[in-house]
Symmetry: C2
Subunit: 203 residues, 2 copies
């Protein structure tokens, strides 16, 4: 989304990507405030002027990290997110989200949710980037539910917009509780509750 | 919960309280990593040695902040949290949570949730303190639901433990989305969904 990106040469693009990936990893482990530009310089093997060239300032880099994390998660889950137009698809996605947390010992939480919590009050541009990220998550859920309703599987009074918000909130809240409690039970329970609620609108 | 607390004199207790309140305010605005001991010293008008005397290290102070935020929120909401044993009580609590966010322009999110997201990976003692804080939130919800079931208003197959987790996750996820989107709609929608799901177990 960086305005500079289209004009980059291939090596420039690779350098930019390396900076973003390194920053994302450090910010995930140590928080945004706990990650300095010198930390990123050292870990990515670049100069401060390169970082400022590509991102203008730390907030610019943070927004690139938000976009990178969002893109990464969406690409990884794309096949599941494109199949949210059936109750089986919703269940498969939910199972996969729980399995991912189990696979990492329930540590780390949601990469984007953690950034959101830390950065929501930092500056309007960053908050807007976070809102856009959550919208990109909510959209495939909503699209799936619209299709489900369109095929007559959900009642006409089911609101795909609100039901998608219920499911996304269950995901975020469940991930936070799972991270703190180090068991996927809260995530599983929260998603099960949201899916069961959606199922109350089944025809 | 500090082992030192019972032995404090009245002025000592007041100093300790001032440090915790100041640290809580700074950490809420700038994050834990963005709040240094010198920042707290200056804002609270105390010396570094006073801070280390009461809290041993920054992690100790952070745990005192978690406890303070939890206590503060629970005291403030006590009358509502003690009345979660009816559908009207659940609704009243939910309305009040939404009204609080509306009252602050949907900024800030959950004080404990924000700390949790930033600190869940910091050290085991702090993670344990966060888990204890969420447990203190979940407990009155669970107790209300147990009573509701005991009075025959919820079916016997309703699990108050899981339903309380569903509601707490909806609260946390809804607060995060509300903070990022600057509208209480996601919080209201998430809580409505959780309450409607609980109501599916009504007799």
């Amino acid at each position: 989304m960086s305005a500079a990106e289209p004009r980059l040469t291939a090596p420039g693009r690779r350098t930019r990507e390396r900076i973003v990936e390194t920053a994302a990893e450090l910010m995930f482990r140590k928080g945004v405030a706990g990650t300095s530009i010198p930390d990123i310089q050292q870990a990515a093997g670049v100069s401060a002027s390169q970082i400022y060239h590509y991102f203008k300032d730390k907030q610019g880099l943070v927004r690139a990290v938000i976009e990178y994390r969002t893109e990464q998660a969406l690409v990884h889950q794309r096949p599941l997110l494109e199949a949210l137009d059936s109750f089986e698809g919703l269940r498969a996605w939910s199972d996969s989200v729980v399995a991912i947390q189990d696979g990492r010992g329930c540590a780390g939480g949601c990469e984007v949710g953690s950034l959101a919590s830390e950065l929501a009050e930092s500056c309007p541009e960053t908050r807007t980037a976070l809102a856009a990220s959550f919208e990109r998550w909510e959209e495939p859920i909503r699209v799936g539910l619209v299709r489900l309703r369109g095929r007559g599987k959900l009642r006409a009074d089911a609101d795909p917009h609100d039901l998608a918000t219920v499911l996304l909130a269950a995901l975020q809240g469940g991930l936070l509780l799972t991270q703190v409690r180090r068991t996927s039970h809260p995530l599983r329970t929260a998603l099960d509750g949201a899916l069961a609620y959606i199922a109350t609108f089944a025809t």
